[in-house]
């Protein structure tokens, strides 16, 4: 049984919950079982935000991800807090623009991308989250490239074409990052 337990974490306002929602839609389109659980309350009001996402071939028990196969951290406090929880042999995706240290653990697969910098360079400064997601998709294969478009259509309302195009671009930038 294949199951991806994904934990996304960062500052409130970095689009953590939105990025999680997009990943959930990629799973839904592929007809998988999915769940999405945000942190709520004082944390998300300007502090840290995190989000548990599960994409699975089987029915999902706990929706809370305590040991992620895929850890995605957008800021330094999130790496400090969650590195220890990453599953052995799991992925740790690090936004290297805002995180100036390396993953210390030797039993996880670290992946670094300057997501914030790339988003800024391309004139889409608010979309570092989706640059990261594109890179995660490329590295882990959690969804096929063709499902990206369909999932985006579900995540961003179609009437907001500008948002749609920006998000698609961000994912493509991350996807093609080497």
């Amino acid at each position: 049984m294949a199951e991806s337990n994904i934990l996304l974490a960062g500052f409130g306002g970095q689009g953590i919950l939105f990025a999680g929602k997009f990943i959930v839609y990629t799973g839904l389109i592929a007809d998988k079982h999915v769940s999405w659980l945000p942190s709520y309350g004082p944390e998300m009001r300007g502090g840290t935000a995190n989000c548990s996402v599960i994409v699975s071939d089987a029915e999902i028990g706990s929706p809370i991800v305590t040991n992620p196969d895929i850890l995605i951290v957008m800021n330094r406090p999130s790496l400090d807090r969650y590195e220890k929880d990453c599953k052995s042999n799991g992925f740790a995706f690090v936004n290297s623009t805002l995180i100036d240290k390396k993953v210390e653990r030797r039993d996880v697969r670290p992946r670094y991308i300057p997501a914030t910098e790339l988003a800024d360079e391309h004139g889409i400064p608010k979309l570092a989250n989706m640059v990261m997601v594109g890179y995660v998709i490329k590295q882990t294969g959690i969804c096929t490239q063709k499902d990206i478009f369909a999932a985006m259509k579900k995540t961003v309302p179609e009437r907001k074409t500008e948002l749609f195009d920006g998000n698609m671009r961000a994912v493509q930038i991350g996807y093609s990052y080497e």
């Binding site: 839609y25 999915v34 769940s35 659980l37 709520y40 309350g41 028990g61 706990s62 929706p63 809370i64």
Partner: protein, 356 residues
């Protein structure tokens, strides 16, 4: 039909609308505010009324008014807000009025916290306010079930003229899962000939009231109400069993912890421990009979709850203490990890392993 992603709170609201609920009175509180927000957006567009009251107490009294007029009505809150509503819930029940009340629980007592909890179990299953009454209490554990049970809640309320509570927790309210929001099945229900719709000289007057100064009369009303509860227990009890057939240990859990139990069960079974889950879906009526039957074949029960051992009392009552019942408790907004539950399972397994 297409699956859509919805938060538990939004699913409650949309399911209520599909069930014909056009009136919502509430007051915001984390972690259920999305119920009210959704209703505020949708109800005015479909000819309904959404009203944010000045307090929870005002909101529940508006619910009483709408229910007395015979319409489908709902209110929603979280733990401290339900305490405030409890006076009105007692009056609603004393008047034998149908309404749906949602409690997306957070940690208590007092203002407590805002993270998920189940510590209102006693309050929910024992009626919440003063006097001899109960609510039917439904406890979903996934978003599709939230939809199905919210719809059912309106039917049960109308069928029996009782208050029905949807008892969730912050996890279920906030999480998103795919749901199919198909057409709401129509149930044949008795006409609301008791409702205050205006007699216009065509019939005698209807009275909705909870004051009975004659003790004999009040006793008769309460007896009748409890006959109704007996009927409900006989026909409306719901539960789920998961891998209980050969289980030495049976976990009893509802809501979010029942999902986490399944992770722990699968890990424990891989280690050769025979463990299963009994999940009450109706907390009132509690599925006593079915648990009593399980007590014949299992060795131990563990009540897994986000409260300091509340449901455990019902497990002991249902099984008449024929088997040991322990509690695996988390409280204050702390959620069990699968490992917490696995530890409790292994501890029990070690106790009886020596005697096999």
């Amino acid at each position: 039909m297409e699956k859509i992603l919805m938060k538990g709170n939004e699913a409650i609201a949309e399911a209520a609308i599909t069930a014909g609920c056009r009136y919502f009175f509430g007051y915001p509180i984390t972690p259920q505010t999305e119920v009210a927000a959704y209703m505020a957006k949708r109800l005015p567009k479909i000819g309904g009324t959404y009203l944010q009251a000045e307090s929870e107490i005002a909101a529940i009294n508006m619910v009483i008014g709408a229910a007395a007029a015979g319409v489908r009505v709902m209110t929603s809150s979280s733990s401290p807000g339900i305490s405030l509503k409890s006076e009105g819930i007692s009056y609603l029940s004393g008047c034998d009025l149908p309404a749906v009340i949602v409690n997306i629980q957070r940690g208590g007592p007092g203002l407590g916290g805002i993270q998920p909890s189940q510590s209102d179990y006693f309050q929910a299953t024992r009626g919440s306010g003063h006097g001899d009454y109960h609510l039917i209490v439904l406890a979903p554990n996934n978003i599709q079930e939230i939809v199905n049970l919210t719809r059912k809640a309106f039917d049960l309320a109308d069928k029996y003229r009782v208050g029905v509570m949807i008892l969730g927790d912050g996890v279920l309210g906030q999480m998103m899962e795919p749901v199919i929001m198909d057409e709401c099945p129509k149930t044949e229900l008795p006409p609301k000939d008791w409702a205050l719709t205006g007699a216009k000289g065509a019939r005698g007057k209807n009275i909705v009231n909870s004051l009975y100064l004659d003790p004999e009369e009040l006793q008769r009303r309460n007896f009748e109400r409890f006959d109704k509860y007996a009927e409900i227990a006989k026909t409306e009890t719901l539960f789920e069993k998961y891998k209980t057939d050969d289980a030495d240990i049976v976990l009893v859990a509802y809501g979010a912890p029942s999902r986490i139990c399944k992770n722990a069960i699968n890990t424990a079974r891989a280690k050769g421990i025979k463990v299963g889950l009994f999940r009450p879906i109706t907390l009132y009526p509690f599925p006593k009979q079915e648990l009593a039957e399980l007590a014949l074949s299992t060795r131990v029960f563990i009540s897994v709850e986000m409260s300091m051992g509340q449901m455990v009392d019902d497990v002991r009552l249902a099984t008449e203490c024929r088997r040991p019942v322990s509690v695996c408790a988390r409280t204050g907004g702390v959620i069990h990890t699968p490992e917490n539950i696995l530890d409790a399972i292994e501890k029990e397994a070690a106790n009886f392993r020596g005697v096999i």
